[in-house]
Amino acid sequence: MDKNCVNPHHGTEPESPIQPAAIATSCGPLADIPIAQQIPLPPPFDQLDDEPAATPLSDEARLRYESDLDGTIAVNIPRPETKLEEAELVQSFLSGMKKLFEEENNWIFLQPLIISAEYCAKCQTCSDACHIYEESGESEIYRPSFRSEIFRRIYHKYIKGEAEWVHGEIDLNWKAIARLIELSYRCNLCRRCAQTCPLGVDNALLAREIRKIASQEMGITVKELHEAGSVLQQKVGSSTGMNDLVVKDNFEFIDEDTTERTGITVESPFDKVGADILLIHNAGEIMAWPENPGAFSLLFNAAGLSWTLSSELAAYDSINYGVWYDDVQFARTAMLHMQAAKNLGVKKIVLGECGHAHKALTVIADRVLAGDLNIPRESGMTVLLDIVRSGKIKFDKSRNDFPVTMHDPCNMVRLMGIVSPQREIIKAVVPEERFREMEPHGVENYCCGGGSGFAIMSGHNFDEWRHRFSGRRKFRQVLETFKDEPMDKEHPKYVCAPCSNCKGQLRDIIKHYDAWEKAGIGYGGLVELMVNAMVDVEPGYIDWEWH
């Protein structure tokens, strides 16, 4: 045991919670939450004893990587071999933190950052808004203000040189920094907590800023987001590894399959110069849920839209993982998307069913675009609603005669205010009595649990952590929404999630709990429901068993 650290216990929760200063001084993991401490789910998953057991980290992982936070690893930070190396990393972190507060290095977020760094009243109003904190049985380290408070204390003491009696005790060592970086990946960046803050303090922003220090200054990143994510996308065109030839091949397959399933010939145009619309899908859809881009193609063609896909680098994959951890990577990917649109001479970019791509290109990139790259971007939701309103496609609601609920992707809803178009579409394609809202929903929704990159992060036992903590509230909501339905496979129920990442998370948690087999809970996108209800296509577009 490290002689310089003290036993974290800190008392036994919940009587005497761990203090923020313990991030630098405690030994071993700061939290170890048994399943028994969690709130049971609704039936038929209400027996904590029946929940899948938690898998401990392997000895190899614990020896090789920093793992003293909570028994899992998201970031794979190698343990430094010498004290000198540790000291250099501490200095690098401080250097990065200093840059966060400099205009030239962080004009991008300077004002929101300073508000959140200076004005927290420490009232803990944010805590109850956080699904991770609540589902962990109120474990202190997952309190949204816990990491923010550590960030603020370091900032005030080591960057501004202010007194501890004013801002709180904190020591700085490598252990604290490694834990803080790891802790920044225990937040979905859903900003539900920011919504409740009376002062406008944004814990999610601070989590993202910590990720930025790690990535932009220290070169510490999550492999799935960086090397296998944004870098791969910028290198070959997609984080899935698809290059331009493969994506065209895949679309040939998608067109054939959609044609076969619907009885309508579908062709997805590529690189059509002068088209009105450049449609960009999350490439995860192309690989994992081909019925989604297939449905888009069918609907756009049936509505007579002038549209195209692009095979240019990154322009067939709307993902922009930089939005979760790195401003430079974010800007580079956004530029590739916009350059492709410019080269095709389209009038607008339309984004398929991907929440973070919506927010990245429509909202955040808005103030990094100028001149001929400043081409309008629009949500697929409003375009689809326009198709519905146009009356060009006839729908038969009775084809969707099963219970349906809507999951609101945070990026599209809370962070963009796109709430009603998808609901109006649902009204047009699902019998009214079959649709029910989750509570809460709309801008007060809960994250699916896969937000901020978690849906694609599964190293070590991180996927289990995701299911047990970040995804549990959404699963609870789904079960509560369908509680009056027979919970078996013979009565399928549809969770409509118009977002690729959310679908990935739903897929994983449904599998984790075997919820299709045990309760008949399925999931899918919005366009699948639309095509399933189209009068002109053969019935049965939704394939329940496939997922």
Partner: protein
């Protein structure tokens, strides 16, 4: 007239405190206002979105939104900010236990500010229009300021005591509470407590305070008379409240400044960057700033590049060739 420095201390404290408060608050506002444009980071509901604000919708729900006329509802913003400022609506909705303490504290502060404003109004009107003193309007004003002052001190004191109690006993708050947080609340309790004692024991109609403010406005540093302790309490009270007034904007308690920008410059800042707009020109300026980040993938060693250069190069692709 010979002026005893000890007896004019309350006047000096009041002048200095007012000056510090105004300068410090103005500086904070200036610093925030001159910060560079940041990327959009709005959070819905956005209050000025008109009817859509009721469910959190935005103009992005419109087909080809950039072709539609965009309206911003000032009334919508006022409708949200009014209850938020006056009644701490967000805290009431999301943290009722804290609100039960914070609301009387803040509402007490507003009443005290109202009382102070009425005192100054009365003094200024009396100075420039002697007939105002003792007029019916003046009497109404005196009633108003007495009610505001008395209720404000009681409410503020109860709130501050409640907040201190919660901060010391709540499991949720203890680990985040610093000595300065305790000091700040104790400071309020002492300052309000002394003022309340003065009000309750010797100045229930705020006449002595009114005379003091009149002297303050007229720059007449008339020594507070020795009357067996009553004016001594007033002097101590003025000094304490002055110190508090000067202290607040130097701390995070000046969150009223941050809150304005948090709402108007961040949460509700949904202004789109339309081609040819002023925003677009600002984008060009900001992209020309140098980048100082050091991680290897930034490729920023050697001569520092601008944000525009870093954003438009693609080292991942060039490495692969």
């Amino acid at each position: 007239m010979e002026v005893d420095p000890i007896h004019v201390l309350p006047y000096i404290a009041a002048y200095v405190a007012l000056s510090v408060f105004v300068v410090a608050v103005a500086t904070r506002i200036y610093v925030f206002a001159r910060m560079p444009m940041h990327v959009r980071w709005e959070l819905y509901p956005v209050a000025h979105e008109g009817k859509k604000a009721s469910y959190g919708g935005s103009y992005l729900e419109e087909f080809e939104w950039w072709k539609k006329p965009r309206t911003k509802s000032l009334a919508g913003e006022i409708k949200v900010m009014g209850p938020e400022i006056l009644f701490l609506k967000a805290l009431k909705e999301h943290n009722r236990r804290m609100w039960a303490r914070s609301f009387p504290f803040h509402f007490g502060l507003y009443l005290i500010i109202g009382c102070t404003a009425f005192l100054f109004l009365s003094a200024i009107l009396s100075a420039i229009w002697p007939a105002f003193a003792g007029s019916r309007s003046d009497v109404v004003l005196q009633y108003a300021l007495t009610v505001c002052g008395g209720c404000g001190l009681v409410s503020g004191l109860i709130g501050a005591l409640g907040l201190l109690g919660r901060r010391l006993t709540s499991r949720d708050l203890r680990g985040f509470t610093t000595p300065a947080d305790i000091f700040n609340l104790v400071f309020f309790i002492v300052a309000f407590g002394v003022a309340l004692v003065h009000f309750a024991t010797v100045d229930r109609d705020f006449l002595r305070v009114g005379s003091f403010v009149e002297n303050l406005v007229r720059f007449q540093l008339v020594a507070l008379p020795a009357d067996g302790g009553g004016y001594t309490i007033l002097g101590i009270s003025v000094i304490l409240l002055s110190l508090l007034l000067a202290y607040i904007p130097l701390t995070h308690m000046s969150h009223f400044v941050g809150k304005y920008f948090a709402y108007h410059a961040v949460r509700w800042n949904d202004e789109p960057n339309l081609p040819g707009s002023g925003l677009e020109a600002s984008v060009d300026d900001l992209l020309s700033q140098p980048v100082g980040w050091a991680a290897p993938h930034i490729r920023n060693s050697g001569e520092r590049k601008t944000w525009a250069e870093v954003a438009t190069e693609n080292p991942a692709a060039s490495d692969g060739k």
